[in-house]
Subunit: 191 residues, 2 copies
């Protein structure tokens, strides 16, 4: 998506060869007009799918997911990060390892808000190793829900998550796919 | 706001005389169409104010704030909850005590995204004791920003936060104000 790639090229900050800071428009300050355009793009890409719910993960996914949900005329459910190991049996849960923070979180979703009747679009801001996404897929599977598609804002295509999750059979639509990046040369996108 | 009060009366769950669970539509599953109407209502209520940024707090405030921002054609900034005591000097920070969880969190906002040029609408899902809101006001003050108004989805008007923050001179617009509630009699709203 041209608009998002241009925004990343203009306002993203590369640190080393692995970290891309986009907190000026994506995950601290949020450019809601951009999110709306992203929502329209995913609506176009998943037009044939019977999506009736958006599933995302706190906190960075929520804003994007809400503008997506507006296009699909459906609710959002966000998975909560739980510090407690004792998550109870009224929730679906999965463990998510964070390479950024070097720790493992449980993510939880109430059983009341996901079930076999749900046809989900999963939304997240970043896809790198795919850990968070695997957690969301696990939660959807536990609920007997159908994952109709996956929408990612920025995929680090030089890491393995996207390849692996596509190999599992999911339609993953990343609006910007970074082929390589470093401080000196900046960011290059896949074709 | 009639639409929100009706939703609370229909789907809210009162536990004891103090806890109102609205996670079916407000802060776990999210009714984005409702958020859009709430955004329109705050736009009407704050029409005369030169608002150029929405400030909220993760995670429950983010979804509502994004639909509000759409009405005001401006970005959202969300304060992050930080576990670390060592928040650094590139952020504004405030301590927020949570009566629900019985602990204190630091909330932080990058200095890059708030400044004297900002005219803020603060948005949050609940107002009870006003602790989170006082944290956001502190962050705004540290930045030299102007708080033009405060939009709350649900105010527990039987607690003191709303009264105290209005006494500080802020225009607080709560779309549903609960006068009293308990499991037996349900919920009554202020007139």
């Amino acid at each position: 998506m041209k608009m998002l790639e241009e925004k990343i090229a203009k306002d993203g900050i590369v640190i080393g060869s692995d970290i891309l800071k986009v907190d000026s428009f994506l995950n601290h300050q949020m450019d809601v007009a951009l999110f709306e355009e992203m929502g329209k793009e995913w609506k176009r890409l998943f037009a044939s799918k019977p999506i009736n719910k958006i599933l995302t993960i706190e906190a960075s996914g929520i804003g994007i997911a809400c503008l997506v949900a507006r296009e699909f005329h459906c609710p959002v459910v966000f998975a909560k990060k739980s510090k407690s190991r004792n998550v109870g049996n009224d929730v679906y849960s999965a463990q998510v390892f964070s390479f950024t923070h070097g720790n493992t979180n449980d993510i939880i979703v109430s059983k009341k808000y996901l079930g076999p009747e749900d046809h989900l679009l999963l939304i997240d801001d970043f896809l790198a190793n795919g850990e968070a996404l695997r957690g969301l897929i696990s939660v959807a599977d536990q609920a007997g829900a159908t994952v109709e598609g996956i929408g990612i804002a920025i995929e680090k295509a030089f890491q393995n998550g996207g390849k692996e999750i596509r190999a599992m059979g999911y339609q993953v639509e990343s609006l910007a796919r970074i082929a390589a990046m470093n401080e000196k040369d900046g960011i290059s996108f896949t074709d």
